[in-house]
């Protein structure tokens, strides 16, 4: 990705990542956790803010550095999938607005992402939905990213 990103700290098992977002509201520690899911090899990407020593998964930072944050998350996905090449990363927001935002970021960088990754989208929230190749203009409930 062309955009600049932040330096990232990573745990020994490569499942926990954290970096400092610097913006108009000051320095905020962002935390990314790759949670194992019930389906083997699939991980849920969970994004949180560290607030007073606790992880807040529902916070809305609005620190004015969204592109930096997303570029850093992209780098984390690249890094993680280098260690776990067969893994599938599931991404969804805890609100429709956040899910749309993630989708928009994927759409804007789809050409670049497609060089190394396959991206799939899922429209059915009932739990029976399959992941089909990501297309722009479709309102997805979740996105799945896997290395080619």
């Amino acid at each position: 990705m062309e955009q600049n990103s932040y330096e990232v700290k990573v745990s020994q098992d490569r499942q926990q990542y954290w970096f400092v977002s610097s913006g108009k509201n000051g320095d905020i520690t962002k935390v990314v956790t790759m949670q194992t899911m019930k389906r083997a090899g699939r991980f849920n990407l969970a994004l949180a803010d560290e607030i007073n020593g606790k992880l807040d998964y529902k916070s809305k930072t609005d620190n004015g550095d969204l592109d930096y944050v997303f570029a850093t998350i992209s780098e984390i996905v690249i890094y993680f999938t280098k260690f776990f090449p067969a893994s599938e990363i599931f991404i969804t927001g805890n609100t429709p607005v956040k899910t749309r935002l993630y989708q928009m970021k994927v759409s804007n960088n789809l050409e670049w992402i497609n060089n190394e990754f396959e991206v799939f989208g899922m429209t059915d929230e009932s739990g029976n939905g399959d992941f089909t190749p990501f297309k722009m203009g479709i309102n997805y409930k979740g996105i799945l990213v896997t290395r080619k």
Binding site: S5, E7, V10, M37, E75
Partner: protein, 136 residues
């Protein structure tokens, strides 16, 4: 502490995570529960659209899964239909009392009458047993 520089130029620093990672977090549990609820579907790589119908080509595993699901659904529908038929016929018999039970000698007895006789026979036998017991 170990520094790892990946090809992208972003610096990844391998280190021990802060304490807050180890603390139980209800929001995180909620997130993974939601992910497991909606995000366990199959990956379908090859989707072709023909006219208004969408033809889905899937992996072998997914095809087997779809086939299995369809077979199971069909079997469930059949079973439900059989049960429904049975319950309908027995309901008719009870209501109309029209079904006739053939006896060994060829004579026909209404099901309801036969039931009464059976019950009566049963009561007589029970009564006889009790009488014997009383005499002991």
């Amino acid at each position: 502490m170990e520094n790892i520089n990946e090809g992208s130029g972003v610096k990844f620093v391998l280190t021990d995570p802060p304490e807050y990672f180890n603390e139980p977090n209800a929001e995180l549990e909620e997130k993974v529960a939601y992910a497991n609820k909606i995000g366990l579907g199959e990956v379908v790589r090859d989707v072709k659209t023909e006219g208004t119908q969408q033809v889905v080509k899937t992996t072998k595993a997914a095809q087997n899964y779809v086939y299995k699901t369809k077979v199971e659904a069909l079997a469930a529908r059949k079973a439900a239909s059989e049960t429904s038929k049975k319950s309908r016929s027995s309901f008719t018999n009870r209501k109309t009392g029209s079904s006739v039970v053939k006896k060994a000698d060829g004579s026909g007895v209404k099901k309801s009458d036969e039931l009464t006789q059976r019950k009566l026979g049963h009561s007589l036998k029970e009564g006889a047993k009790r009488g014997k017991n009383d005499l002991k």
